[in-house]
């Protein structure tokens, strides 16, 4: 027997395939499947939410505390004015049976408002203090009520639960590693696009209601322009915004969309603004609401 070693065989134990080819197949496939799953689940949730009788949602949130109510007299007066505005605008919208819009006012400087399960809408003092007219405030209010009318909070809940379930399975399979994190990022970006679509829809409904209430949509344009100038004042004016990373459509586009909507529906884009009711106007001078 002659003993000899030959050189190790090449290309048998380790493949010659280009690594990027494998990467492209795997990453492309995983992203495509995940985006398709998130889109399907989101569409499903969006389709199902308005069909779900509101009383189930009410039962679900029945245990939750009502939005924070201000404790002092001025705050309570401001809240009452907000609630009156909400009731007036809600009367112009097709709300699900049994849903009553309840407004909350929080004494925080954040410029924001949101709508959530159970017909609750919460305004932050920081937002009210930045608005010049009732028209602008009514645009925000109508936008939030539109979310409620369209059952967006319920759709978001169902979507969040379903997508979370899928992601928990996927990321468990993809290990604690970066692949799981990257897929999670893909899913949340896909969700954001649904979010933006909902915001556009709420904007459209708000424009309709504001036009019916005030006879023009000047307040809505004021509002979106105020958002845009706030963004610029924060020093973000220089950096271009990337829309697909945002929860809302770009503010400059929202103002333009309002003008386009007005032109398309023959509604004036400008007109006399109604002043804010007294207690809400008082919030503007930095007068804080005691919670």
């Amino acid at each position: 027997m002659k003993l000899r070693n030959r050189a190790p065989a090449e290309g048998i134990n380790a493949g010659e395939e280009h690594p990027l080819r494998e990467f492209a197949w795997l990453a492309g496939g995983a992203i495509a499947v995940l985006v398709a799953a998130v889109v399907a689940l989101s569409l499903g949730a969006q389709w199902l939410a308005p069909k779900l009788p509101y009383r189930y949602e009410a039962r679900l949130v029945g245990e939750l505390p009502a939005p924070a109510a201000p404790k002092d007299e001025r705050g309570r007066a401001a809240l009452a004015e907000l609630q009156a505005l909400a009731d007036r605008l809600a009367a112009r919208m097709a709300l699900p049976e049994g849903l009553r819009v309840t407004v909350g006012l929080r004494d925080e400087g954040i410029v924001n408002a949101y709508a959530t399960l159970g017909g609750h809408t919460v305004f932050f003092r920081g937002l009210v203090a930045r608005l010049d007219s009732e028209d602008a405030l009514a645009t925000v209010m109508a936008h939030e009520i539109a979310h409620l009318a369209l059952r967006h909070p319920a759709a978001a809940l169902g979507r969040g639960l379903a997508v979370g379930l899928v992601l928990s399975v996927v990321s468990a399979e993809a290990g604690r590693g970066v692949a799981g994190a990257a897929l999670g990022q893909t899913a949340s970006l896909t969700l954001l696009s649904f979010n933006r679509e909902q915001e556009r829809e709420a904007d459209r409904q708000a424009l309709r209601v504001v036009a019916a209430e005030y006879g023009h949509v000047g307040g809505a344009i004021d509002l979106f322009e105020a958002f845009e100038s706030m963004r610029r004042a924060r020093g973000e004016g220089g950096a271009p915004q990337v829309e697909w990373l945002q929860t809302h459509p770009l503010t400059e586009r929202r103002a333009q969309a309002a003008r386009d909507w007005a032109a398309a529906h023959g509604v004036p884009a400008d007109g006399a603004r109604r002043p804010l009711p007294p207690a809400l106007a008082a919030l503007r001078g930095g007068a804080a609401v005691q919670r």
């Binding site: 003993l3 000899r4 070693n5 380790a14 690594p19 990027l20 990453a27 996927v170 970066v178």
Partner: protein, 150 residues
């Protein structure tokens, strides 16, 4: 901008892992092939006993061990591969390099101590994954034989 930064960082790490990993792998293969030619006359076999023709005067244990680590790119692709299964070529070449390197080190050990023949060569590997990027140790060991002078 936070999300954009996160995506940018991720893509950078992925590209870095791929680019650097690819260059290092190519260099390592070149070095392995060169040393395999240099050590071609040190023979290594898996049989348990020396061939009958061998008249050894000395025998001792020789061993070569190597630790290799995956890179960001390979680990990412491995995570995706874990979803669907199948042959993962990124780790195949990583482990092939580790085995060949371990065998080379074993031969180097044998040669340094005057042996030209190693029998009963065995391979073992231990995963030492602690962080996100897995590493593995591959050990080759065997019995080196020094021939009796004629």
């Amino acid at each position: 901008m936070g999300a954009l930064l996160e995506i940018g960082l991720f893509v950078t790490l992925l590209a870095l892992g791929y680019g650097v990993g690819r260059v290092l792998e190519r260099r390592h293969y070149a070095s392995i092939r060169r040393r395999e030619r240099e050590l071609a006359d040190v023979l290594a076999f898996t049989m348990r006993f020396p061939p009958a023709s061998t008249r050894a005067q000395d025998a001792f244990l020789v061993c070569g061990s190597v630790v290799v680590s995956s890179d960001y790119f390979k680990t990412f692709v491995a995570g995706l591969r874990g979803l669907v299964g199948g042959r993962f070529r990124g780790y195949e070449s990583l482990l092939e390099r580790a085995r060949r390197e371990a065998l080379l080190r074993l031969k180097q050990d044998a040669l340094a101590r005057g042996a030209r023949l190693v029998v009963c060569v065995r391979f073992e590997s231990t995963s030492i994954t602690s962080g996100r990027t897995p590493s593995i140790e591959v050990v080759a060991y065997g019995t080196a034989l020094v021939p009796r002078p004629r």
